[in-house]
Symmetry: C2
Subunit: 290 residues, 2 copies
């Protein structure tokens, strides 16, 4: 019977958050989602065995990287086993019966408000108010039965909280995507998680690997580190630097490349990187997201 238990997946935000959609894209519709208030709570939930996996936002095409989650990747040591991209479409959402002309306040997460500046500039009568979460702002409208306010959130959030969409796609830039990682506990998998991973592996159209490393503080150190990939024609898709704690003006580098950690070329590149790096960890190999 245990094998038929649904997978549990942590995500940050309220039900209806874009992260919930990421969890579905990664593991299918038949999952149990576990909302968390903060990013570190998701990592803790996986680490402590409270949930099977977490869907973690890592970068957005307008806003940039979610740096806090890069730091948590290093600290919690949970392997990355999947990636997916979610298109972020923002909608103006209000409770049933509330009309566009009634809206005096618009609630949402500051990043979402910042991504709808053209709409908000065209409607100065609506006062923008920051809230801790996009979907959470719809939930609040529903709980407080607000008739003077709208929220900016996903269409799924409108559905979940019984609200309706007053304006669709009010985001400034349609090229708005968030990339998510799927994280799980290290070690051998059983049951549903093993099945899901086998299915993702079978469907993979190319792989990506993420590593994190530090270089010796010498001229050309980062260049030599990158040569491990360039000299083997392995494409880098992302490089991110984060401050190294306790060593002012030195950095950790997070690097993604096209390849699977256990194929021969990638293995050699990682071994080569290990020769020139002070510290190196492979964070995971995973099927490339669509």
């Amino acid at each position: 019977m245990a094998l038929h238990k649904r997978l549990t997946v942590a995500f940050q935000g309220e039900l209806g958050a874009f992260s919930q959609q990421a969890a579905r894209q990664l593991l299918g519709e038949d999952i149990e989602v576990v909302p968390c208030q903060r990013f570190d709570e998701m990592f803790q939930a996986v680490s402590g065995g409270k949930v099977d996996a977490a869907a973690v936002p890592i970068e957005n095409t307008l806003h940039g990287s979610v740096h806090e989650n890069y730091d948590h990747l290093l600290h919690f040591e949970l392997p990355i086993v999947g990636e997916t991209n979610v298109r972020i479409g923002h909608n103006l959402i209000a409770m049933p019966g509330v009309a566009f002309k009634d809206i005096k306040y618009v609630y949402s997460h500051p990043v979402a408000l910042n991504q709808c500046l053209k709409f908000l500039a065209a409607h100065p009568e609506m006062q923008r108010t920051t809230f801790y979460d996009t979907a959470g702002s719809v939930k609040m409208l529903a709980e407080e039965k607000r008739t003077d306010a709208a929220a900016i959130a996903s269409s799924v959030a409108a559905e979940i909280y019984g609200a309706h969409i007053l304006r669709k796609s009010i985001e400034d830039d349609r090229e708005n995507f968030t990339r998510f990682f799927l994280l799980r506990r290290p070690g051998k998998l059983k049951g549903r998680m093993a099945e899901a991973e086998a299915a993702r592996t079978a469907a993979a159209k190319g792989w990506k690997t993420s590593v994190v490393f530090t270089t010796r503080n010498t001229p050309g150190a980062l260049f030599r580190a990158m040569s491990a990939f360039a000299l083997r024609d392995l494409s880098l898709t992302k490089i991110e630097s984060r401050p190294l704690r306790g060593k002012p003006w030195e950095y950790l580098f997070y690097l993604d490349f096209l390849g699977k950690a256990d194929d021969e070329k990638s293995q050699r590149a990682i071994a080569h990187l290990g020769e020139v790096a002070d510290f190196l960890r492979v964070l995971g190999s995973y099927p490339k997201g669509a």
Copy 2:
């Protein structure tokens, strides 16, 4: 007489912010500081000729880069003409007559609160409350004559608002520094700004140059870009990637290296980078900060 007018320098935050100290380190005590609420207002103030210069935080050794300001550097095209590092020391500050045992609330900017976690964990009786600015939270205590609350801010903020320090250096990590850029309008300088720049140039112990570029979206493109520096033994001190608007999963790279844009080696490196980059701009050369 115009020549004797004091230099005006914009910074983000209230009087007593760490940015004010950066402005003094960069241009001396005899300046007129102009507080701005938001980062973009500082850039606007310089751009529009309202002030002579701005002191702009660009990275912190614990928190990482101030990404918004990287984006503004690209947009506003103001040359970087100086850099300085400010040690961030956090203090617990209250109004005169208020004792440690009276404190029920602690106000500060979320980043500052996050940098004093050990102190706050040891004092669960103090409820942490986020505020838009460190020095601004001291100003608020003074204005509201609060007897139940403290703020976390610089010692200069305590001085300015007539408050006193209850606990010194409550930050978790002493290796807490913020790096600032000095920005001015492009073009030839006159008067005090020209004098100040000549003084900084004369005192320079080594130079840094900042550039921003994009690469063609081909394998090894970033590696080739970096070879322009590595093959000439020019040391990189920082690399930062930011999303490229309208091109999902492509990036702008901000790179700092040791060298002056008009010395021969740097000139050749920049020309070489121009050959392999799709877009390239030199953001400025400036004396290396202490």
